[in-house]
């Protein structure tokens, strides 16, 4: 009987993450972000982490006190980020990341979003590198290898393997087969496929093995090693409707 992939708590699921790990975080604009795993890793305290994610925060529908990569950065746990956004998307937005970056306390590798997704896909598909037309002729391509195919110039990009993937899914069975709902899929399966160890926060109760029809599995369980069911709020973190969020933020500032 293999060891269960279901862990009792987020703390248990991340307890052995070593310093210096390369960790990919799924999610796009809050949806599918592993909010609870960010919190657990901030509490666990691993240092010199390289964080791979679309951006360094989450999006406007994230409560301002919700755990994000910003917690890890503010805890001095992160030495490098690899993201498609390394600046605020709005002038009014203040990022902990930007403070650290301006002081030279953190490194950043800025990658076009499609290139980031493909570098992860390549790592999960046994492809060491590929050529893409994105970023050709830009500052990002300066001094790098390009090659012309069929009369068009392409930029060489390398696979981006991960030590760990932290992701969020909608449904799971005990074997680790996952389903994502709506735009929750985004980077999540790609992070898992690029990683040696995938840790999943699961929204619904974890189902018995076989409860998800094989045709309906979005990410096969062979890519998943650890799962934790997200507890209801306030113990577990869940995205909020913008209206409810505004109300909560108002109540918080009134206190």
């Amino acid at each position: 009987m293999p060891k269960s992939k279901v862990f009792a708590s987020f703390a248990d699921a991340v307890s052995d993450i070593p310093d210096g790990s390369v960790i990919g975080f799924g999610g796009f604009a809050v949806v599918g972000m592993p909010i609870n795993l960010y919190k657990a890793l901030a509490e666990q305290g691993a240092k010199r982490i390289t964080c791979v994610s679309n951006g360094t925060r989450g999006g406007s529908t994230m409560p301002s006190d919700a755990p994000t990569m910003e917690w890890l950065i503010g805890n001095d746990q992160v030495s490098k980020v690899i993201c498609s956004f390394t600046a605020p998307t709005r002038a009014s937005q203040k990022l902990v990341f930007s403070e650290y970056y301006e002081k030279g306390l953190i490194q950043a590798e800025l990658v076009p979003q499609g290139t980031l997704a493909e570098r992860l896909r390549a790592a999960g598909a046994g492809i060491p590198a590929f050529y893409t037309p994105a970023a050709v002729g830009t500052e990002l391509a300066e001094g790098r290898e390009t090659r012309v195919f069929n009369g068009r110039e392409y930029l060489l990009e390398e696979a981006l393997p991960l030590d760990y993937a932290f992701i969020r899914a909608w449904q799971a069975d005990s074997f680790g087969n996952l389903r994502f709902r709506r735009s929750q899929r985004n980077f999540n399966p790609l992070m898992a496929m690029a990683a040696k160890v995938t840790v999943v926060e699961v929204e619904e109760d974890i189902l018995p093995s076989g409860a998800i029809d094989p045709d309906d599995v979005h990410l096969p369980g062979i890519y998943v090693q650890r799962m934790v069911k997200v507890p209801p709020p306030p113990e577990g973190w869940w995205p909020q409707r913008p209206g409810e969020l505004a109300k909560q933020e108002g109540e918080r500032s009134a206190r």
Binding site: V31, G32, S84, F85, G114, P133, L190, R241
Partner: protein, 224 residues
């Protein structure tokens, strides 16, 4: 808004949306371009693609009706049109790179007369926000830009050469600003239509490059 003269942002986006053809797959950048989806396309079928893998999203949801698992590229909660499908990020950009996007509408800081444009890094900024713009700009069949004519400080955004790092070179086809509609042609940048209440001299004064200007410049087409 830096300059209230001329077209509203919605009018700007309406004008670009008129160019979308029946059956086109359209990707809208965050900011001003998202307003293109408010246009009434009538009998035309327009398929909106969002970089986070949503193919065929519809209008924004009403307050309180948001599906917390479903957003567009700007993080706005949207609906799905009948026939919608969802893929992961690598497939979403696979369809972008392989030329399935008929048009992308992006915001910009600067557009040059040779079709270069810049939208990911402001002057002197450390870091940047590329998102999906470089993939989209390099690979969409058409690249349209929606932006204000001048910066907050009154500096033209239409320029001879971009002064800040470019997103892609020689890709822009059409630019709408609050002052008018501009086309990048092999001979340079042409003023195609002018906003009501704006004179040709005002357009020239607010533009940082040479403009090809016909003897009669028609007004910006409005919703018909």
């Amino acid at each position: 808004m830096s300059d209230a003269k001329g077209l509203s942002r919605q009018q700007m986006c309406d004008r670009l949306a008129m160019e979308f053809e029946d059956g086109w797959v359209v990707n809208l950048g965050i900011g001003i371009p998202t307003l293109c989806s408010n246009y009434d396309f009538g009998d035309k079928q327009i398929i909106f693609h969002a970089e986070n893998g949503v193919i065929g999203y519809g209008p924004l949801t009403g307050a309180g009706k948001e599906d917390l698992h479903l957003v567009n590229a700007g993080g706005q909660h949207v609906t799905l049109n009948p026939g919608a499908a969802i893929v992961h990020h690598a497939d979403s950009f696979g369809l972008i790179r392989s030329g399935r996007i008929d048009v992308t509408v992006l915001g910009a800081y600067e557009v040059a007369e040779n079709g270069d444009f810049a939208n990911w890094k402001m002057a002197g900024q450390k870091g940047g926000g590329i998102g999906g713009a470089m993939d989209l700009a390099a690979c969409a069949k058409h690249v349209f830009v929606a932006m204000e004519q001048v910066t907050r400080n009154g500096r033209p955004r239409l320029v001879e050469r971009c002064a800040i790092p470019v997103t892609a070179k020689g890709v822009v086809n059409l630019v709408i600003t609050n002052y008018g509609l501009f086309e990048i042609t092999p001979d340079g940048m042409a003023l195609r239509e002018i906003a009501p209440g704006v004179s040709v001299d005002e357009v020239k004064a607010a533009t940082g490059c040479n403009l090809l200007i016909p003897s009669e410049v028609p007004p910006v087409k409005s919703r018909s």
